[in-house]
């Protein structure tokens, strides 16, 4: 084996990852090869110096910030579902109220015309739903 060209072997030796048998073989080579001896010594010194370095400390505020964002994100699907349910409930309620109003309203011919003319007012229904939804959400937030 060409020990001088065996980079992985030298690295394993420096990092203490060689088997006893391979280590002994390599040390036999080191005893007669000053170039490899010097190289291993340098690698060992550099590795030791590396081990003396420390991780950069995490800025303390970042921990709280990331925990907060994770908390928000984790509960986002449940919040979205709750909002959707609330919106659907309000829409159903308002629609039912509008239908009921027209259903129970006067039934004469002139009243029918009035009813027909009042149809454009249905355009305001989505906005009514939106406003009720916002009011309810605001109320929930205050009580929460």
């Amino acid at each position: 084996m060409d020990f001088c060209a065996a980079e992985a072997l030298k690295l394993d030796y420096v990092n203490g990852r060689l088997s006893e048998k391979d280590g002994a073989l390599f040390e036999e080579h080191l005893a007669v090869c000053p170039a490899c001896r010097g190289e291993v010594l340098e690698l060992r010194e550099t590795a030791a110096a590396m081990a003396g370095l420390a991780r950069p400390p995490v800025p303390p505020a970042w921990t709280a910030a990331v925990k907060g964002r994770l908390e928000l994100k984790r509960h986002a699907p449940a919040r979205r579902r709750a909002s959707l349910f609330l919106y659907a409930a309000i829409s159903a309620g308002v629609t039912a109220a509008v239908v009921l109003l027209f259903w129970l309203g006067p039934r004469g011919t002139s009243d029918r015309i009035t009813w027909f003319l009042s149809l454009p007012s249905l355009l305001f229904v989505p906005s009514i739903i939106d406003n009720i939804y916002r009011l309810v959400r605001r109320g929930v937030r205050r009580t929460g």
Binding site: E42, L43, T46, A49, L53, R55, K67, L70
Partner: protein
């Protein structure tokens, strides 16, 4: 909840934030962006954790998410060619540094600062294996998993990374390594 059981997120952040920040610190030179990437890594972990099957250590998997998030940030920031793959990025030169006062840490010795600086000047393919092995204690196999390269490549990059550091920092009687 994951395939390996429920998750204590506060604990997960506390246990892995050091590793994540370290990898960001080694990979992205724009310090202004570090906090954003730090948060992005954990949000990516939250999103991907249900798919984590526990075949590797959680820390190895989080390291992999962190490295990929850094890579995506660098691509998005336009420091690199758009078509550059993860592998090409690893092989490339380090990002240009953004000047910052935060660089200075008076408590650190000059020798450490030099070693830190030279480690930062290495290409990701050399800097990451060196940092992951000597500072984070990952095995060769775990580093191979994080960087998606063969085991032999990890060893080769680790060897060359150490050699390159030695060359840049200097040794000998007056070199800091013996000082």
């Amino acid at each position: 909840m994951t395939k390996t059981g429920p998750v204590d997120w506060d604990r997960l952040v506390e246990d892995h934030q050091g590793l994540v920040y370290h990898l960001i610190h080694r990979t992205v030179r724009d310090r202004e962006a570090h906090e954003e990437i730090f948060q992005e890594v954990f949000l990516n972990v939250l999103e991907s954790l249900p798919r984590f099957e526990g075949r590797s250590k959680l820390s190895t998997w989080i390291a992999s998410v962190a490295v990929h998030t850094c890579y995506k940030f660098i691509r998005k920031a336009g420091h690199r060619k758009r078509a550059e793959s993860f592998g090409d990025w690893l092989e490339g030169e380090p990002e240009p540094a953004v000047p910052s006062d935060l660089e200075e840490n008076l408590e650190r010795s000059d020798a450490r600062r030099r070693l830190e600086r030279h480690l930062g000047d290495l290409a990701p393919k050399h800097a990451l294996p060196v940092a992951l092995f000597y500072l984070e204690g990952l095995s060769y196999r775990e580093i191979a998993e994080v960087l998606e390269v063969p085991l032999g490549t990890v060893k080769s990059h680790l060897f060359r990374g150490l050699k390159e550091l030695r060359k840049r920092v200097g040794g000998g009687k007056d070199g800091f390594l013996r000082g």
